[in-house]
């Protein structure tokens, strides 16, 4: 379980997040929904300590991560996977090396065993092994997203974070990504935290939802309790959203 208490963050004196309280339960898909530029990416990066908060606490299974040293948190990262908005595939490595890098550096598995796991991961995300020798620049956006998910899955994490997982994808790829997020919960029992401004995606995948607006969480609860009025308020200034 992830617990967030009174989390604050500002950049150059400008408050981006104010007193955020959240509780993310085991094996649920938790979505943080909000308009662009309201601090969603900052929040998700704070949750995995890619950014440091100004104040407040974040704890994983009761352990406050701010008290962990860099080395200890490096160990913690083995339980966490992060899918970046930009996918962040290493562009100087081919798909095979992108997927096997973690296993090569952190396990003592043989080349063959690592290759087996790479193949398993790439099949899990619905891609063929013909893609393994390609470089990220040769892939479509949808393929890149699925390779990024495969790279995350191969770590066998407990928590997986998605930053705008459907951004820039066509409808076909959005459906595939939604299926993947669902199957990671169903088949692998992962706890998923999704940040999005896509209302359709939120309704499709979420167990529980937090609405983030103007630096604060304005609602946390079941997606069925979200009314049209709440969504209209969330995007009242004509801010960008997708249906």
């Amino acid at each position: 379980m992830i617990e967030v208490r009174k989390l604050c963050k500002s950049f150059n004196g400008k408050k981006v997040l104010n007193k955020i309280d959240l509780e993310i339960r085991e094996n649920e898909i938790f979505t943080i929904l909000g308009p662009s530029g309201h601090g969603k990416t900052v929040l998700i990066k704070l949750l995995v300590r890619l950014l440091e908060p100004d104040s407040g606490s974040i704890s994983y299974d009761g352990q406050d991560i701010s008290s962990l040293s860099k080395r200890e948190f490096n160990e913690m990262y083995k339980k966490i996977a992060f899918i970046f908005q930009s996918n962040a595939l290493f562009d100087y490595l081919d798909v095979k090396d992108n997927l096997s890098l973690y296993k090569k550096l952190h396990t003592k598995l043989s080349e063959k065993m690592i290759m087996d796991e790479v193949l398993e991961a790439i099949h899990f995300v619905g891609l063929g092994q013909d893609i393994l020798n390609k470089f990220p620049e040769e892939l479509s956006e949808g393929m890149k997203k699925r390779v990024a998910i495969a790279r995350a899955v191969i770590k066998l994490p407990s928590y997986i974070f998605y930053d705008e997982p459907t951004l820039g994808l066509d409808q076909g790829n959005i459906v595939k990504v939604i299926e993947l997020i669902r199957s990671l919960k169903k088949d692998v029992s992962l706890t998923s935290i999704v940040v999005t401004h896509n209302i359709h995606l939120m309704f499709e995948i979420s167990d529980r939802v937090a609405l983030l607006k103007d630096r604060e969480i304005v609602f946390v609860g079941d997606k069925d309790n979200i009314s049209n009025v709440m969504l209209q308020n969330l995007y009242e200034k004509g801010e960008d959203y997708e249906l």
Binding site: F84, A88, K155
Partner: protein
């Protein structure tokens, strides 16, 4: 009327005075900000250097990246080094001959050309050129990784970006620059020999050898071929990595990082070269 004019003049004078002090305040403010930024940069460089030194024991873990960097610091720079050394040698020879008095024995000219090549020209010119080639490419590579979240992705894969990116490059620079410089020295001397002895017959091979042996000091060779290039190698790699990691924004930020890496490492190379000369010679 006169009184009004006086008041107006007084007001104008006060306004000018006010503007003057405003400009002074702005200058002081800007200088202060630049000074603070300078010390912050020095502090950050020091912290990054300490972090890389701390991760030195994990080099075995990053051996693959280290070997890749050794390759790009050596094999990829051989063509440019070869061309540069040939013409450095020839240029130094032409200058040597032109500047020498006809009554000066030719062995002395060879001696001056040899020493200036080995102690100064080859290490510094080569390092400046490689600062342009390697420093810029390191900064651009790491800068692009930074703006596309690849550095953060490394962290989420439990990899220390300093150990993974900075340390292998730093060690590769430290090890490979001296080797490339020794290679450059060899090519430069060879080109001088061919031009002066074999092709033009300006000096006999035996006299050429005597010119090299004249007042030969092993320490000078060590300074020019090992000490200077290893320090320059660290500077080039470190500045490339530092400015790469500091990249912000998009393509413009990457361009700025590359430019900064080249300019700052070139300036530091020249300064360090001067102090090494003062210290050791």
């Amino acid at each position: 009327m006169k009184k009004d004019l006086r008041i107006l003049r007084e007001q104008n004078r006060q306004k000018k005075n006010h503007t003057f002090w405003k400009i002074c305040a702005l200058i002081v403010d800007s200088l202060g900000q630049k000074t603070i930024a300078f010390f912050i940069t020095v502090h950050e460089i020091w912290i990054l250097f300490l972090s890389s030194m701390r991760s030195i024991f994990s080099i075995w873990f990053f051996r693959r990246q280290f070997v890749e960097q050794l390759y790009s610091f050596s094999v990829k720079t051989i063509p440019i080094t070869t061309v540069l050394s040939i013409f450095l040698g020839l240029g130094a020879l032409v200058q040597g001959i032109y500047q020498s008095n006809p009554f000066v024995p030719r062995v002395y000219t060879v001696n001056v050309v040899f020493k200036s090549l080995v102690i100064e020209l080859c290490p510094i010119i080569l390092s400046l050129v490689l600062a342009g080639k390697l420093g810029a490419s390191l900064a651009a590579e790491i800068g692009s990784m930074k703006i596309s979240d690849q550095i953060d992705a490394l962290k989420t894969l439990s990899l220390d970006p300093v150990g993974f990116l900075v340390l292998p490059r730093l060690l590769a620079g430290f090890i490979m620059l001296p080797i490339i410089t020794i290679f450059a020295n060899f090519i430069a001397i060879l080109s001088v020999f061919f031009a002066s002895s074999v092709v033009s017959g300006w000096i006999s091979p035996l006299e050429f050898l005597r010119g090299i042996q004249l007042d030969f000091r092993v320490f000078e060779l060590i300074l020019g071929s090992l000490i200077k290039p290893s320090l320059f190698g660290i500077l080039i790699a470190f500045m490339g990595c530092y400015f790469g990691l500091k990249t912000v924004g998009g393509a413009k930020g990457v361009g700025k990082a590359s430019t900064n890496a080249v300019v700052i490492s070139a300036i530091l190379i020249v300064i360090v070269d001067y102090y090494l000369g003062v210290l050791f010679l």
